[in-house]
């Protein structure tokens, strides 16, 4: 039951983030939702996996995968935001 609830929350949050990426008008607005996609939804899915798998090798690998998403993605978002700003304001020295 807890697994179903956590998975449902994770999928719903991920759908919300994907909808934001599709619907928003500017690239920076889309980027906000792209960043959110690796935050709360990934943690909900990880929690569901851990409730099901406990701290087995699979659970530890799931922690590693979500930790990589959670920790590495901000660097990618910052680089993307700088590229967006550079394309929209060519004189910017970023």
């Amino acid at each position: 039951m807890a697994v179903d609830v956590l998975l449902g929350l994770g999928v719903a949050a991920e759908l919300l983030c994907v909808a934001g990426v599709i619907v928003m008008r500017t690239a920076l607005d889309r980027l906000h939702y792209a960043g959110a996609a690796t935050g709360v939804p990934a943690l909900f899915v990880l929690a569901a996996v851990l409730v099901h798998e406990h701290l087995s090798s699979g659970g530890l690998e799931a922690i590693a995968a979500v930790a990589l998403l959670f920790l590495l993605n901000p660097a990618l978002l910052i680089a993307t935001a700088r590229a967006i700003r550079r394309t929209e304001e060519p004189e910017s020295d970023l």
């Binding site: 999928v11 699979g58 998403l69 990618l76």
Partner: protein, 83 residues
């Protein structure tokens, strides 16, 4: 079909509109869609590994997370330089 396989199917379906965004919109918008698709793919692989009880998919999810990050950085580098 258990909850993890249903979740993986739903998440997999969200890749289609992201593909449309990447195809129709500007390249920089497509890059944002690609980054989102990388995160979704990692979560799909996690759900598939639990749903199918195949522990090897957990490793694939880790590789997908790192590979999508590196790919995103490469695309950002080239798009930032050439657009």
């Amino acid at each position: 079909m258990n909850a993890f396989l249903i979740a993986a199917t739903i998440l997999l379906a969200t890749l289609a509109p992201l593909l449309v965004v990447a195809h129709v919109r500007r390249p920089i918008d497509g890059l944002v869609a690609l980054e989102t698709a990388g995160a979704v793919t990692t979560l799909v692989l996690l759900c598939l590994s639990v749903g199918m009880d195949e522990s090897i998919f957990f490793t694939v999810a880790i590789v997908a997370a790192v590979a999508s990050w590196i790919g995103g950085l490469v695309f950002v580098r080239f798009l930032g330089r050439w657009i």
